[in-house]
Amino acid sequence: MAIEVKNLVKSFGTFKALDGVDLRVADGELLALLGPSGSGKTTLLRIIAGLEWPDSGELHFDGENALSRGARERHVGFVFQHYALFRHMTVFENIAFGLRVQPRKLRKSEAEIRKKVKELLDLVQLDWLADRYPNQLSGGQRQRIALARALAIEPRILLLDEPFGALDAKVRKELRQWLRSLHNEIHVTSIFVTHDQEEALEVAHRVVVMDKGRIEQVGSPGDVYDSPASAFVHSFIGESIMLPVEVKGSAVHLNGRPLDLVVDGVEAGASTLFVRRHDMLIGPAGESPLQGAVTHVRSFGPVQRAEIVLHESATTIEIDAPRDRDLRVGEAIGLRPRRYRIFAG
């Protein structure tokens, strides 16, 4: 089911949770809403689910106005961060809940319900837990049961609010891959909220980056990482070196000294130069746009991380250099950004 969000606005008292959000989600897509806390991502998700109502704006499911329906009629599966399993019911009854509360005319027979719950337990690979109560399960198991419960009603849309937020790192990683392969299997339009960029970039087809109630960028994981649309996205996703610069005509100045960099469509004035750590290449001292001295080197994994004091601004930056480049503390080096972006402000 395709979702269309038009100019959604939602305030809680004086706090603007959503400040004019537009978004289209294609049928069968797996989308991540990524942003810091307070960016409005959970509010957007809850509005789509019908658990919250916008102050203004439109919401359409396959062209049909969804705001005229309550949460009950939207047929949306919702998975909560803290699972929200019914604590007094067994795992089996939790999953069966959505089937049992259907109006009598639509309700499946007991045998059909049992069959369906069994299928879902197999799908989440936890069939041996059917008779347990939620407080007897681990966090990862609870979350998978919560997912099975949401899928029981054969939702047209699946929404997940920080689905792995309360789990430890190892379980998170496993469940991430599991969610992606599950989506490949069932193909239901899915949106999940996360503040963990790795999670968003690894799992989603498209990533929606939000900040302060607005959408900053929508794109593939590659897009938002390699071509950030704004200073916020660049600093929020991946690690960036940020240097305050001044744009004068077609030149970039750092502390009054011109840098040998190309300015592309940035207005004159105070700006910020963004470079990824691994995009800062080491060159000969004296012949590069930036000059500095190595103050600290740490080697781990495929790269070595070096702290460098820049001569131009006396600030310290961290870069990732290949391990075969021998760096010594105190060594004077030149730096050239292979890829960089300049944003006003």
């Binding site: 919702f78 909560f80 604590r87 809940f97 008779d131 109560y133 407080n135 009603i153």
Partner: protein, 294 residues
Amino acid sequence: MTVPRAHASSPAEIARPTHDPRTEPKAVRIVLITLAIGFLSIFVVLPLVIVFAQAFAKGIGAYLVALADAEALAAIRLTLFVAATSVGLNLLFGLVAAWAIAKFDFGGKTLLITLIDLPFSVSPVISGLVFVLLFGAQGFFGPWLQAHHLQVLFAFPGIALATTFVTFPFVARALIPLMQEQGTQEEEAAISLGASGLQTFFRVTLPNIKWGVLYGVLLCNARAMGEFGAVSVVSGHVRGETNTMPLLVEILYNEYQFVAAFAIASLLAMLALITLIAKTVLDRHLDEGAPRGH
């Protein structure tokens, strides 16, 4: 947990502590424990013992005769009916009020919470007087009630109303913190799974608070049966008709019928003891959350 003490007995030790560092000096402990036991004895144990001693002062035969008296039986019956009525009403009101306060946001919520607590902060005698002013012959509804030959004051409805008012906070007070702590996520999950409001309440909310409900009902019932002040004002003390057990205790006592007075009082004391035991059991259930059937 014990503190390892191996090093304390080592020969290298110089300054041996004069007392166990984990607790107070012996003298302080003895004084504190004596005070606590003394206080409990004087205010709780002694009165209980006296009630039962006086009730059985002339033997078990006299005790049973006193309880089998027509006035006593009428008082017991009235007390049970009044308690059943007010507990029933307050169970309903308390559930509705707690559900509204804990699960929804609306204007005037703080005011509502304050109002629910009102009966606790008003003297029961004043509460009773309010009902006299409302339903008495010169009261607000008085002429209308007389015109329709309805008797509220000095009859069962008045006693039940006054008792219901006085015991109003118990169920709501037991449920509000519990329901607030449980939050609304399970309800939201139920609704997104297609449950109606009633289905959500009966299948999700109520099972989660059942021990809290029982707890509230228990306390409400104990207070309803024992209420004196408000009932005394609205009852009219018609013997064999509008005397509840606490009122009858006072009347019998004033007439120097000590065995009869304490016999009725012993029933109320037993109610208190049973309530305490049940409360302890419920406390354990509430602490553990819902018990697991297995």
